[in-house]
Symmetry: none
Subunit: 216 residues, 4 copies
DNA sequence: GATGAATGAGGTTTCATTCAT
DNA sequence: TATGAATGAAACCTCATTCAT
């Protein structure tokens, strides 16, 4: 039952997986303790379902939004925007998702890990594309340079994940803006660094992107 | 006892604060359950001590390393390096530190929050300096530019924290390199973005930094 | 469950509230430790329920027995008899009731205190009536006597409570007789003092009472 | 150490024997936990010492005060006064004494029980004397009546103890008067009953007593 | 004399879970 | 489909007590 999952997500978010008791969930959902067990065979399974549903939604939405967009930068920006949008709209779910990483054991854990890997791979692909694209754009200046190192990309992607996932730690809707604004800033930092928001010669690029995303 | 704190940190890291039981800690430290309570009046107090000690160490070491260094970029790189170095060397402690953010209530919680704020403020200062300094370097081209927006800096700093703190999630010593390597990459990303590791015109800056840090 | 309450009462009586552990109660009732907590949210709540039930029963039974009886002396004797009867039949409950006076905090404590006050007030009323009535009976000889002092009545009533409540300390069913016999003796002492059982001029009164209570 | 015993008495009184922990005692006395064990081999022994000291004092003082007084009524009044005086002056000690009746096991328990029995016997003697004396005074009216029954005396004495010991439950120094006043009232009730304070023909006796105690 | 350090046993309470209905 | 009743295990913590110093 989606209703139950939603409430459970909230509770897991507030108290953490270990900290949330089945009684808490029972109270939050209005369903009896035993009733919960009719639907979900264990607390762990509940977490599994939440994580699976959340992550699948993120990945699937992402794929839809990426479809048809070719520009490497825009694709990365879409990735970030998609992530943050979902994150902020379902911050509870994402918090659970991020935190309770290693709770699930066995098959369930493997399945979740698989979805996460899929998501990660998509991002790696986007970054690799951008890097390849970048070398084209920047033309001969990039001359005989080696291809973007896998290890470098890995670090970059995981850094990006860190930026985005850490948000649940500090985001205040009032002052920090919505997913759009945050995505732009984080995208700038990820792609061009602090200088991006600084006028250190990235103005043109940002303009270009702004134009693009306006159409988005 | 430092010995006990070290073991406790490990256990908290492995299982999380809620997930770790005092019995676990007892087993890990080799001290009796009651013995633990002789030294630490409660599980919460234990967490408090760990967090306090860890964070204070980080902040104090940072201040020492910053002392005498004037160059804004270098100062930011020192910040990152310091953070990651401690993070990787004491990944357990940092994990506990990062995660169990809202467990502590009352005075203890406030004290920890204060140290964290202090740390955060230092970083904000570094970034603001860099941004000011940047306008000088980039010369007249930056002419009538507005001052770096506080909100922008906030987002940037918190993004940096995210990058760095998320590490405990993915870092594999074998393949991901040490604090020095990671700090360089994350510094690049933070300051110049993906392009940094890409040869997109940041080469010179990186060289300069590399020279400096060689001396460091 | 009444069954559980009864067993719990016994245990509280034997070991006192502090001395009785939930494990003891679990053993005595045959119910699992966790089972107890299913019914009673805490040890304190258990004590509250026992005290409430016991005291209410005493007060309610007393009111029924007083209904319809007009003679002031008889009413006092009924009070004593009712108290002792319940006390001896449920000596455990009464012991708990009497002793664990200040354990309960907050609302629960207030509620119990209220019932006790109600009980006390009834007794005060009976004694005041008897004293008023007494002056009538003893006729003109008592002429300009002052009204019975509130303070005096208070001391008298509390002394009576002492006599009766202390019983759990020494009563041996074999040698000390049943509630009826004890009530008669304590009533005599309370109303006429040692002299009563002594033939010091109280014989007539006692005879009268004996006749009345025979019908009772 | 008397100092320690005094503090311990206070704590036992406030929290009861079971409820008071050795740590509480340590805190109250300012002596280390282990230090307490240097002086008293166990918590139980501590209780034993308190009870022994308290009871011995009561009994010995009583004997001194009874010495030389011959009038049976006065002797009883002295008993009551002595008891209440000590009780009110050392209400904590007496509370502990009264409550923790059955905690002590073995030799210690037997010793305390012996002192208590001694005390009880004294009172029984006083009452028996009074009754014998009384039958003489009341003259022929008492005709061929049997001697005061042992069982009757037992109940009477224990009732008196109840009256007196229950005091810790309700006594408020401000409104309830001091040991002298209370002893007079309780003496009246015990000897002559409610009527005593009522003017129901006991006035003369009370006057007599008043004269006697004035000399006391 | 007196204590800091340490402990095994046991305290109250809550946990995830089951099962008859 | 859903639940009230019940449980074994384990949670955090405190107990009276000991012992080397």
């Amino acid at each position: 039952m989606a209703e139950i999952l939603r409430h459970a997500t909230e509770v897991f978010c507030e108290k953490g997986y270990e900290g949330a008791s089945m009684r808490d969930l029972s109270r939050a959902t209005g369903m009896s303790l035993a009733g919960l067990y009719y639907y979900f065979e264990s607390k762990e399974k509940l977490l599994y379902l939440i994580q699976k549903h959340t992550f699948r939604t993120v990945v699937d939405t992402l794929r839809q939004r990426l479809a048809g967009v070719r520009d490497p930068e825009q694709r990365i920006r879409i990735f970030i925007h998609n992530h943050l949008e979902y994150f902020l709209a379902n911050s509870e779910a994402m918090s659970v998702l991020s935190h309770e990483d290693d709770v699930l054991r066995g098959a369930a854990g493997a399945e979740i890990a698989a979805i996460k890997r899929e998501y990660y791979r998509i991002c790696v692909g986007l970054v690799a594309d951008w890097k390849r694209g970048g070398s084209v754009k920047s033309g001969a200046a990039n001359g005989g340079r080696r291809h973007a190192n896998d290890a470098e990309i890995r670090i970059a992607v995981l850094s990006l994940f860190g930026m985005m996932n850490w948000i649940y730690t500090w985001h205040r809707p009032r002052t920090d803006g919505d997913a759009g604004a945050l995505a732009r800033q984080m995208g700038d930092i990820f792609l061009y660094g602090l200088s991006a928001s600084n006028g250190r010669g990235t103005t043109k690029r940002r303009k270009r992107w702004a134009n693009r995303t306006a159409a988005h």
